[in-house]
Amino acid sequence: MSLFPHRHLLGTETLTAEDLTMLLDLGERFLEIAQRPIKKVPTLRGKTVINLFLEPSTRTRTSFEIAAKRLSADAINISGAASSTVKGETLLDTARNLDAMAPDVVVLRHAQAGAAEMLAGRISARVVNAGDGAHEHPTQALLDCSTIRAHKGRLAGLEVAICGDITHSRVARSNIFALTALGAHVRVAGPRTLLPPGLPEMVEGLGAPLGVHDRIEPAIEGADVIMMLRIQKERIGTGLFPNTREYSRYFGLNDRRLALAKPDAIVMHPGPINRGVEIEPSVADGPQAVILDQVSRGVAIRMAVLYLLAGGETGEN
């Protein structure tokens, strides 16, 4: 088993194709554990994983908790509203106090970009970024790549469309880095108001150029994979776009638009979905959607991440 050359998992931006493949391959092995009647291996017994979730989450937090427990680690969950952050304790003080209890891994979800990097520099535990503001959500990108690879047999050369609110999406950013590094051709699409400047520069030197479109049809045309992103309720009715009706009319994935993609294209979504807004129920529940598959692979990928950072060998010293 080769060494994983990173102390923390803060994002996919700095992961090489080798790093990514190592994680995906290990994820495949851990997927098998979920099929067993006793879904547990002793690999991380005696290790402590703290899930510090300072932003609401269902699937990611549960996924990390199950991943830790299936590896026999002790998993502790701390959520924002129930922590001293409501008393005004700073992120750093919270983390340092927890670090003093010697956890092996701190999994952090935070509403602000850069929070995980900030923590990684200040505490001795390994840090896994479970989503920092609009910046990165590396385990989501990993499970997305895992899902695509399972259904398509490969990532290199695939046409992948990521559609929606790119500006505010950490899922988009992490996927752009990971998919491009693994050889896919990524296209992003969304209303102009939700496309930030400097997107093509993100993949400079990484792989195939990034396509950028202000309508989703050109992105979906001929795609092997369509990844739809959630529109957040807070954005609606602001200067960014008028309402959900207009959004779903012009930017939503319906059967008509889906037909533009390759006939065997798969439909993905990081969840939670807004039925009828960015994705029609018929598509979300249809035969091409692999959304629930993403969720089950999520646990396996997170087991792989925790194993490589807290269990198996690491190359950082």
């Binding site: 750093l92 970009a113 609009a134 930030p196 993100m202």
Partner: protein, 431 residues
């Protein structure tokens, strides 16, 4: 005590002087300059040997935040002016966003009184444009002028309302005060912490476009054309703003502007890993903007270099990037950063001295900026090649929020003389 500054290269652009010689200071004013004057001074005159150094009119910072009254835990008039002196400044203009803000003569008088007691350098207060800096109604600008304010500004905040801005310009004109605007359309910047561009996109940080600054510069220039009042753009940061000011000057409008040393030397890349010390407003921008700022400084579109010295404690800065306060200290790093521009050939020494001394004096109509006989003896002695490392322990400011910590820098003030007295001196000059 009378002083003789011996053997330095005296650069006084206001009088077209750049020559080696001895500078005489008697009873707090410049008494004469010439080669070999040191030989004839009386025994009671202290002779300071500055061979190899530049001797220039005392540097004047048009834009400093001294944080007193109200935020003395970050900085106060004593520590801020000591930091200024260490940086080679003989005068600083103190911005009004204190607590309470400087929108009444009472606060102006407090600042002046404190400066007279504990200030290491001259302090010129800048009064508020609007009451409480709220941008709703005019502050008592006439009385602020009378109390000693040299300019008005709501700095930290823009005057958003165009009608109020127009009236402020008209009113300030009556009292012959320049109006300094922090140009930022708050609806466009909308809470953004970085410059809108590839670096912010990669970092996932909400950003503000350069147009948030330049759109207000453009609007204000039209109001200057309407009112004829003197207008100064604070901390200009974008190529487009420079272009607009250049055009305004071509039209003959009384528009001036300043740029900070950090905007001249750093791009938004400095924020790529969420270093809150590099978070400032206006934000650090892209390479093209830095190039335009440098060219603007060279061709005189940008009149002055001003630090926007903005002290913050770890409480404000040791937090998540988007939560952190805007601003960095700058009094003690301004000179080495400015000297880099001479080293790269962008500016001549005389041009640099003008941008840091004569020009600021001219814009706010302050005494100083020249070394003529009878002038107050505000003098800065600079060792342009002195090598030093910027480290937290060496700062005289109460705060440490600088992205240059740990950097090797070249050039520093070795002597700062205010009214003929030593406000700051290096080890070797101390008695």
């Amino acid at each position: 005590m009378d002083l003789c500054i011996r053997g330095g290269r005296v650069i006084d652009p206001a009088r077209n002087l750049d020559a080696e010689g001895d500078l005489l200071i008697e009873k707090g004013v410049i008494a004469g300059f010439g080669a070999g004057l040191a030989a004839g001074v009386s025994k009671s005159t202290r002779v300071l040997d500055v061979r190899g150094s530049w001797v220039v009119p005392g540097l004047i910072d048009l834009h400093t935040h001294l944080r007193e009254p109200g935020q003395e835990y970050k900085e106060d008039i004593a520590t801020g002016t000591r930091a200024a002196a260490a940086g080679g400044f003989t005068a600083v203009c103190a911005m009004p966003n204190t607590l309470p803000p400087n929108d009444t003569r009472a606060v102006t008088e407090l600042i002046l009184r404190r400066a007279a007691t504990v200030g290491a350098v001259r302090v010129y207060p800048v009064g508020a444009i609007s009451k409480g800096l709220k941008g709703e109604s005019l502050a008592e600008i006439g009385e602020l002028r009378e109390a000693g304010c040299v300019a008005i500004s709501d700095d930290g905040r823009p005057v958003m309302n165009a009608e109020l801005m127009r009236r402020a310009l008209e009113y300030a004109r009556t009292f012959d005060l320049p109006l300094v605007q922090h140009c930022e359309d708050l609806t466009l910047s909308d809470g953004g912490s970085m410059n809108e561009g590839p670096v912010a996109t990669r970092a996932g940080i909400k950003a503000q476009p350069a147009a948030a600054e330049s759109s207000m510069v453009a609007r204000d220039i039209e109001l200057v054309a309407l009112t004829g009042a003197r207008y100064h753009v604070a901390h200009v940061s974008s190529a487009e703003s420079v272009r607009l000011v250049r055009e305004a000057k071509r039209r003959g409008l009384p528009v001036t502007c300043e740029v900070t040393p950090h905007h001249l030397s750093l791009t938004d890349q400095a924020c790529a890993h969420y270093d809150t010390a590099a978070k400032c407003n206006p934000p650090l921008r892209g390479a093209a903007d830095v190039d335009a700022l440098r060219e603007g400084l060279r061709d005189g579109t940008i009149d002055a270099i001003a630090t926007d010295h903005a002290p913050h404690s770890s409480v404000e800065k040791d937090v998540e990037f988007e939560q952190a306060a805007f601003g960095m200290i700058g009094l003690e790093t301004a000179l080495p950063l400015a000297l880099d521009l001479v080293r790269t050939g962008l500016l001549t020494p005389a041009m640099l001295v003008t941008r840091l001394s004569a020009a600021p004096a001219g814009i706010f109509r302050l005494p100083g900026g020249r070394l003529g006989e009878g002038q107050p003896a505000d003098v800065t002695v600079i060792d342009p090649e002195a090598a030093w490392t910027c480290d937290a322990k060496s700062f005289l400011s109460r705060s440490r929020n600088s992205p240059f910590l740990g950097r090797a820098l070249r050039g520093r003030a070795t002597l700062t003389i205010v009214g003929g007295k030593l406000a700051f001196s290096e080890e070797r000059y101390r008695e």
